[in-house]
Symmetry: D2
Subunit: 380 residues, 4 copies
């Protein structure tokens, strides 16, 4: 039976002095066998406070991994952001941002693009392995500088994000477990890793380009992707997803926030194991992805629709099913207009879409996010 080592990482301190800690579960694979160059894996959950289901998935992964043949290192971090995870706002958990500054907790990771070109120039003649080693060292060194030499310069979220990023930079595969508000399952996948989306049990994939906006997945694959571009520019060709560039990072959206369902989590864990087996991280198992139609769209076609009016929304469109432009997405009730105006407004779009998620509450202001949908979608 595999034993996961548990350590505790100190990531924050509250006004009363209460320490906020994050448990880290890690399995170090036996790589004495020279042929074992299995990929290393980092999985975290609950960076956004209300998005708790990933913790249950990590629970089920740990239970399942006990009895599996593991070839790469695997690190799992539930409750990745205890500040957010403990911040109740009324009955609910404040989801997505630092309640003091408004900055999204998942937009605080570090990537300084200016390091890429000089590194590529310096290592034009280095061996692949040396490039991989030195680049990882460089990235880790940058994070350490930020954490250690910056006494009055670290925000609450950066202190957390940078420590998590240290763990992620040591892995080849990174899974950041999130959820939507009220949502179907979907996957953010870098464009070059499209083939891997077939191994998850997730029917909707958003293909994202090489552009860094502060999120964990981007912070993990953008540096390597940019490095590959930079080498290519200088005339040395590598392929993303191959050799030392065999790096993949996904944001896995597990469904709706504010919910724990351990049975569903077991299914989600099996889907992740199916992917890990395919990547050679675990072996001697028989996890196979479910058969399903997998829809995808490009990030630029993943559109947020904002409410054109204030009111109370009856969300009509089913997630994951293509919605014809004749069909209503939602209807908005405006009882104040009853009798002398229009009390029911139907929301229609001008093209077919696949609804992926909707807002968590029926009450919306003008300009509140209603739905996120796939436009120009295709079968993966």
């Amino acid at each position: 039976m595999n034993i996961f080592n548990k350590t505790v990482m100190n990531v924050g301190e509250m006004a009363s002095g209460a320490q906020l800690t994050v448990p880290v579960y890690s399995f170090v694979a036996d790589k004495t066998d020279e042929k074992n160059n299995a990929l290393n894996v980092y999985i975290q959950a609950n960076m956004h406070g209300a998005e708790v289901q990933g913790n249950a998935v990590i629970f089920q992964l740990l239970e399942l991994l006990k009895n599996i043949n593991i070839k790469g290192d695997i690190t799992l971090v539930p409750y990745a952001n205890p500040v957010a995870c403990n911040h109740k706002n009324g009955e609910y958990t404040l989801g997505r941002f630092d309640p003091i500054t408004g900055v999204n907790w998942n937009r605080m990771y570090h990537f300084d693009e200016s390091i890429i070109a000089p590194f590529a120039e310096k290592h034009m003649l280095s061996s692949d392995l040396k490039i991989a080693d030195e680049f990882k060292k460089l990235m880790l060194n940058q994070i350490e500088q930020k954490l250690e030499h910056n006494i009055y310069g670290l925000t609450t979220g950066q202190k957390i994000a940078y420590q998590l990023q240290q763990l992620a930079h040591n892995a080849d595969i990174v899974l950041d477990l999130h959820t939507g508000p009220i949502s179907s399952k979907h996957l953010y996948c870098p464009e070059y890793a499209e083939q891997s989306a077939h191994f998850f049990d997730i029917p909707h994939t958003i293909l994202i380009p090489n552009s860094f906006d502060g999120a964990m997945d981007e912070a993990t694959f953008c540096p390597w992707w940019s490095l590959q571009h930079s080498f290519s520019h200088l005339g040395r060709e590598f392929t993303m997803g191959k050799g030392i560039f065999n790096k993949e990072s996904f944001t896995v959206e597990l469904g709706s926030q504010e919910q724990i369902d351990l049975d569903t989590a077991h299914q989600d864990a099996l889907g992740i194991l199916s992917y890990l087996q395919q990547k050679g991280v675990i072996s001697n198992t028989k996890f196979t992805p479910e058969r399903m139609v997998r829809y995808a769209c490009l990030l630029k076609d993943y559109k947020t629709l904002y409410s054109p009016m204030g009111g109370m929304v009856d969300y009509l469109a089913e997630f994951g099913v293509p919605l014809k432009k004749e069909q209503p997405l939602a209807r908005i009730l405006r009882m104040d207009n009853y009798g002398d105006g229009k009390p029911l407004h139907y929301i229609h779009l001008e093209q077919d879409v696949i609804p992926i998620l909707h807002f968590a509450s029926a009450s919306v202001n003008q300009g509140t996010e209603l739905y996120k949908v796939f436009r120009n979608f295709f079968v993966l």
Copy 2:
């Protein structure tokens, strides 16, 4: 076709000077026929900000009542509390209390028990009709005093509650439409009106005694119930639910908060019409209550269970189905204990219960409300 008259009631003013208004829909029945002494009805919704489904029910009631023979006055008030209804707190609507003071919006109605005994003494020899008239006048007069002669003494919630109470005191039947957090349908019903619970399409009833705690339903029936007691004490007997004491008031809990479902609202509206027909407010229709097992318990047996620990809850128990004491109510995940403690805790109770509602979020602190359940329940 019946026409409902619409007026707008000014109930609040925000810091920018923005006025907060409440629409009031009223139908005044033709009572020129001397035999028509049909009861008058008052229905309101959305006193708690997140409990929006009642607005949809009022929409469907208005649609249905257009073509029904109405014999009593009917007044309907959606968006009864625009302060609460517009108060978003993150993605969600702050549900239950004034965000500045913490006082529950549904605990601000007025009833001064000290008026009862003197009134009964004074009217020992008055006719029934005179008693009914004078008592209504007295209650309305008290509210008016509070609203008009108290320039620095009215809180935000009192200004709203008292105006709604003026409308309610003019009715014989009062329905206050609420919802639970995540909840089955249930009904708060005064003990003397138990028979009426059979006419709603609601499978769970909480029978409440004559004790005033500030809520709309209590504020409507407690004065009459107390008056009847007082007369009885003096030797003049009336029966609650009969004659001038034919007063009924219910809090109707329509399901879960933060949701609008117009189709379900149509069903809920039919259930309310079934009750109104039974009370003679509408006629020539054929609304019949659904056949179902109706469970009930006394208010003292409607128990709130608080979480004995912090953690993330997988709510297991199904609403409305008796739960044997061997069966778990919920399980609480504590990933921080994985590996060196107990990561899963099952919640078991010491007696059979019927789960009615649970907390809106999976994340709970020690002492957060988990479930509300019927103990010592019985079939109505």
Copy 3:
């Protein structure tokens, strides 16, 4: 040099499993000298999250008490409510109530009046000392029952309050350190202890009757006061403030919330020592109360004034200075009325008052608390 012993009390658990603890500093006096029956003291701070200055006062008290001759036991508890103290809501600390339920953190202490009469009857013939001992035991036993035998019945706030109350019940003198929103210093003092108000350096005193509303001060003196009444009713006379009824409990309002000022805290600590010296808890020192006019009013005359309109308030009246009825208390700006209405509204009262505190923000809704003032005030 006196050494204070430090222990840590576990009072809560958050969703991530993070423990919330409260530090307890205690000095146990040498009472081997039979003549030393000095009173015991309990002091706590920060029950309301934003009211932090009491922590600084406890810091200064601990520093000062190091070198003072202490005759009674003294227990000091800063950060008494870590749930509230750590709950940031935007930039500010959510002050006064459980953010999930709205219940005021300082209304959750326990006192069951029904125990009083039977206890008095049972102990009509007991010695004074036995009465004191047994009554304390009874109260502590009740709290223990609540804490230990009530697995699903404890709210977040009760778990904290009851543990603090255990410490308080072991003392004769209780000081609960609070602050107002934006506020002068003032003192809540039981009517029978009026003389003690002269020993604090606090210019405003509210005299409170024997009525329990859930607060720490009431939870501490009401049981004894009620017991004394009950004995008196049965014909055995004791005097509140004398002998075994030498119990005093105050809520000390130190000024404004959201502020720490260690220099002012030093002054406040000296004021408290002046009181403790007068009560014989410390000796051989020369703390004397400041000379000042001390105003007081009865609790029923301590009035909250609510804003008659929404708007932005320029708070004009100075704290602590009698305000003639001709003088404006505040003026409210309503720029939306500029040009076609009245943009400035002056608030005048109908009698002289002493303004004690005002709301923390300039922005108010209709019905928001504006000021709290003494009416019918007198010099103590």
Copy 4:
């Protein structure tokens, strides 16, 4: 006496249907005199909810401007953001961002830099006046596109910001009235307009470069500054601050949030009139700037200092006074460490600074903003 015309702009709609409106006060100058090419002015206040003092300044400006000789158009907008202005979160007003998304209300204005180069190329030979006219038209047209042709694409904040920006684009001088949390007065001033900083009664100036980050001031001057650069690049030279590029835009930070002080507002209004007179917008008056030492620093030297620990802060450093590196900025109380750790921590910096503002609450988490300070400051 000058008469300001009042109109009302509809900027939002809440869940209940309540309309949120903004009053707009405008004076249209008589420009029939050909020599009158006075600059037009736009002034707004309260874009951030808690920053209310600007409304009082607009009140005083309107009062003062009644009797002044006005030569340019002047538009004044108090309560610019009624969503933020009405959003109470506990006692306080949620200050800086959309409570649903976390996006700063003052980061939603529009500027699409890609329009600049093509415009400059197209208008290389156009007259100055035509350039000015056409560029304004282009900017207004872009905003109109965003507002009108984007039914599901407008967030709550964009709907407000774009409407305000339409007013601002019609002016040459823009003043956006803000406040800090607890703060001295300071001014954000574009580098090219440094001389104008001398005419305000504000002792601290931050000089900002031509880089757009979504704020009102940037959205107003960046387009013109970029256009001037673009023309220069093509060989046609203009000077910022002269001729058709006589455009200035400032964010005026009036002091602390959550406060209205009409007397101080009068002084602030005089300072603004001093500037407007200097720019020729008003005449025949004798407003002169106060004599004071005016300190400045570059935006890159305006540093935010984050707390290295959780705790309760005694803010020591005085605003506006150079702080020697030996002097403490603040001290942080950690009562949980009393007795077995370090209860007081002094914050020292490694260079001299001028403290400008500090956080609004004494309670901070690790990583909460403590102070903002000028480094490398100089006398303007």
